[in-house]
Subunit: 134 residues, 2 copies
DNA sequence: GCATTCAGATTACAAATGTAATCGCAAACT
DNA sequence: AGTTTGCGATTACATTTGTAATCTGAATGC
């Protein structure tokens, strides 16, 4: 076998995570490890899924190398192998790349123009800016 | 027929645009109208595509209602029916929604932490903030 | 010990996506 | 006018994604 899946130059987690898969990841980032059933409890209601669906998604995520499994009696416990902050960072950067030529300022401008910035956001961002200047 | 595709409550352009399709849109946002061949000239090299691929993507985009066509002799001229700024706005909001619970500040923090903010970005953002406070 | 149950594994299947090749037809050339 | 050619339209086909149903084998309950 050609030493394929589950890792790359950047370490674990280069495989793309789909939207449905992402929901599962969120549940596990919130709390882990969890069993398939627990994950379902966390997401099935909201997404209108049944357990088989969750199991499929868990398998795919394991194949993609972004979830680790640990046997616990007859079932498995699933744990993320990538940090949410890394995922979020990659996705954010990808968007900025695709839509704003890699510059973050235009994204900010866009959000501003869109009223997507609450006064709280603005205050917080100002605080972060001050923070950075030190 | 059930008065289906090509528009929704928000007006034109609710259909999701895929990655490949997005490259085509970018070319047309940069300059329009353009023929299929011109679009190909603009993107085929970089993406390693051949003309048929571009034509497929153009068709799909027309079906999705995000491109308008206008006959020009024997061929078509393609023009975006949605503004890039709208698309960008929607996509940005979607990301902020998915990854940051709708709050823009954490996105900003994320970018900051990731060194994804150049000094220019920072300066620009500060300027925008001042701007907004007036 | 044997039936039931409950896990993960395997298979399913339609829609979307990436990436074309082919078809059919009208315009252009000769 | 007949032939070529250059277009959009139609068809193709593998992969990924969404959403499951079924299978298989081990643990559990009698």
């Amino acid at each position: 076998m050609t030493a394929k899946a589950s890792s790359d130059a950047n370490g674990v987690g280069a495989e793309r995570i789909s939207d449905a898969e992402h929901a599962v990841m969120e549940a596990l980032w919130r709390k882990s490890p969890q069993t398939a059933v627990e994950v379902c409890d966390a997401v099935c209601k909201e997404r209108g899924w049944s357990i088989p669906t969750v199991k499929t998604l868990l398998s795919r995520l394991v194949n993609k190398g972004v979830l680790a499994t640990e046997p616990d009696g007859r079932r498995f416990l699933y744990t993320p192998r990538i940090k949410r902050s890394d995922y979020v960072g990659t996705e954010s950067k990808r968007l900025v790349e695709r839509l704003f030529g890699g510059r973050a300022a235009p994204l900010f401008a866009q959000l501003a123009e869109n009223e997507a910035l609450t006064p709280d956001d603005i205050a917080e961002i100002e605080r972060l800016l001050q923070e950075m200047k030190k």
